[in-house]
Symmetry: C2
């Protein structure tokens, strides 16, 4: 019987493949993983302060400044003044930004459907449960609270 470590190897390989695939599709448009992550969060949360984005992304405020600069220069997001707090700026998606997110969602849906396309309903259900169990265990390891 193989050692459990091969499960880790499989998961790690999948992780690398997923990230490589995502990078391949995004980079032509000037979108990198970090910028896409911010775009994704801003889309989910609606117009957000950079402070809020920094917190959501677990990243320094300075880092958010740079990412928003890049996304703004490429037309994916827009900065606007906060209506009540003149220190803050609100980051929201432009039409182009919203469209990019929509296309990425479609791409992910297409990938997801492809990778499990020959699983029957029962197998897919078990696979989901297994992944959830693994995720929970990984969270335990990261956050031993």
């Amino acid at each position: 019987m193989p050692d459990d470590i091969d499960v880790f190897d499989r998961l790690l390989e999948i992780a690398l493949l997923i990230q490589a695939d995502m990078a391949r599709e995004l980079e032509p448009a000037g979108l990198t993983a970090a910028r896409t992550h911010l775009l994704w969060v801003a889309h989910s949360s609606g117009p957000s302060t950079q402070q809020a984005l920094a917190h959501a992304l677990q990243v320094s405020p300075r880092n958010v400044t740079g990412l928003v600069d890049a996304l703004e220069a490429r037309g994916f997001v827009r900065r606007s003044p906060h209506p009540t707090d003149r220190r803050a700026t609100l980051v929201s998606l432009t039409e182009q930004g919203t469209q990019a997110v929509t296309e990425m969602e479609e791409g992910r849906r297409r990938i997801a459907a492809h990778v499990v396309s020959d699983f029957d309903v029962d197998r897919l259900q078990h696979f989901r449960a297994d992944l959830d169990a693994v995720t929970a265990r990984l969270h335990e390891l990261m956050d031993p609270s």
Copy 2:
């Protein structure tokens, strides 16, 4: 029934958790993901030219120079002249480098055992098969040859 995209979300979350966990353990020693990857490959392949490492890592030769510089400065690898080709240098692991790889292997084995610790033999076997199927499908997407 949920959309298949949630499988992708689960896999992506696992990918991020694995990488976060690996980063957390390595960085104190001055090892980053990129340096660790090179260390891993050099360990598996034995003494290698930087050219060979660049090819194995799918990265530019210039990048390898920087990674080897950093690993050499921290005592994980050693450069030595190639016995027959005076243009090339051979990169090999020091005692400290070998020990670091050994410790990482133990860490990965521990994590792997933990994440599937409540799977019985049958479930684990199915899970492996599912991961292999997903990996194969992802390779198809990446490499439509």
